[in-house]
Structures are given as C-alpha cells and as structure tokens.
C-alpha cells in the first residue's frame, strides 16, 4: 500500500511542484529501460508512507526523484540521498545530469 501511495500521491505532487528539474541523464541506472530518459523532477513531499500506507514525515536527508522519458511518461520514482549542501537536490547531481532547468 505504501508503494501505491508513493505512486498515487507523491509522484503527481513532485511533477506539479518540483523544487528542481534536471534535463539529460548521464547515469545508466537512471535511464528508461524501454527508451530514453529525459528529465528528472526533484522535491521533498509532505509525507512518506509506511508499507501499510500510513503517513509519516519525509525521510530526513532524502529527496524524492521522478524520472520522465522523452514521451513525457514518468517511468521511475524513488527516494534518494540528498546533497550535503542542498537538501532539495540528490547527492551527486552535478555529475548525474547535463543541465538544470529549475
């Protein structure tokens, strides 16, 4: 149930109100398995969710990433450790993406 809430609640919230958007993926692990990855939307949602679906505070020191391909389809989403110097950005963002749009 927690995974469903991440998909149903967190993913739309991050896509609609990102704190940062990057374009151009440099790491193979971020790529779309069926095509070409394109953008990464970042943000810290209001809640995280336990496996039973109950809400809790977001995980400290982590940021939520939603990856969108070149057909504008979200294909992957997950929590990632945040950068030390900016909690709204994923660790290693400088090398991970080609450019920052927002």
């Amino acid at each position: 149930m927690g995974h469903a809430k991440e998909c149903g609640i967190i993913v739309p919230a991050i896509l609609q109100h990102p704190t940062a958007v990057f374009e151009g993926l440099r790491q193979d692990e971020d790529e779309d398995r069926r095509g070409y990855g394109w953008r990464c939307y970042c943000g810290i949602p209001k809640h995280a969710y336990h496996s039973d679906g109950t809400a809790r505070s977001p995980y400290p020191g982590q940021v939520y990433l939603v990856f969108v391909n070149d057909e504008h389809v979200a294909y992957n989403w997950r929590w990632k450790k945040a950068a030390d110097d900016d909690p709204n950005l994923p660790v290693g963002h400088e090398a991970r993406f080609r450019k920052r749009l927002l």
């Binding site: 927690g2 809430k5 193979d28 398995r33 069926r34 336990h50 496996s51 995980y59 997950r78 450790k81």
Partner: protein, 140 residues
C-alpha cells in the same frame, strides 16, 4: 488520453494496491527492459547502485536489503554461457533462480571477501531465497 484530478488518480492507484500483510516476495523479469526486479518486503525503499549489473533496494524502515534491480540480464547470461557453459544447466525452460544469478556474479568478479559489494551480494543471495522469477528469460 484524458487528464484526471489528483484525487481520482490517487484513488485508482489505491485500488491497484494489495494490503501489506498479503505481500509475497516477487521477482519479475521484464522482457522489454531486459531486467529483473526483486522485492522481498513491501517497505518503502531507497536505491543504491552496486555495480553495472545490480541496483540494491534498502528498506527505509530498517535499512535492510529488501530487493534489487538486475539490468541487462540477457547480456549477463550470454557472457556467463561463454565463460562457464555449465551455467546453462541452471536455466531450465527459461527460468533461473535469483540466487544463481547473484552467485554467478560473485564467482566471476574479483571482489575481496570483505568488500562491501561482496557483502551486498551475499545478503541478496540470503534474502532472495527460493523466490521464483516470473516470466521467461529471453536469453535462453
């Protein structure tokens, strides 16, 4: 394709979910992506890449290894067939256990015994247990 409101989208996602207590470990081969995704628990997780084959999932609740994503499965199997023809014996009717894939990786790479990568693979072997992989591998 039509747009739907956030609440309606969330409701539809909830309908697709199963209660956590009904969760069973799953490993699914995705032929389009040529990858195997394994989840042993329904916990929220964060992902860390181990090497070019495996990304491991850690539980947000406990920090334990609870799953993995294995990429480029066909290429890995082909490489294994060339280097170790006996590996083919482990694949029957397009099916192979996760344990064998993790073990094969350990045996073919020069990881130190106490290397973090080695320990992660050992944990994955332990956690994956007898979980069968749904779907037929295309590399066979």
């Amino acid at each position: 394709m039509s747009a739907i409101a956030n609440d309606e989208f969330a409701k539809r996602m909830m309908l697709l979910a199963q209660p956590a207590e009904q969760f069973k470990p799953t490993a699914t081969y995705d032929p389009d992506g040529d990858c195997i995704e394994f989840l042993a628990k329904p916990d929220a997780f964060f992902a860390e890449r181990v090497d070019d084959l495996v990304t491991v999932y850690y539980s947000q609740e406990t920090g334990e290894v609870i799953g993995s994503l294995i990429k480029d499965v066909s290429a890995f199997c082909r490489d294994m067939f060339e280097r170790f023809p006996g590996f083919r014996i482990e694949i029957q009717a397009g099916r192979v256990s996760l344990q064998h894939i993790f073990l094969a990786r350990l045996w073919t790479e020069r990881f130190a015994r106490d290397d973090l990568t080695t320990l992660t693979y050992r944990k994955l072997i332990e956690v994956s247990g007898e979980t069968p992989i749904e779907g037929e591998l295309s590399c066979v």
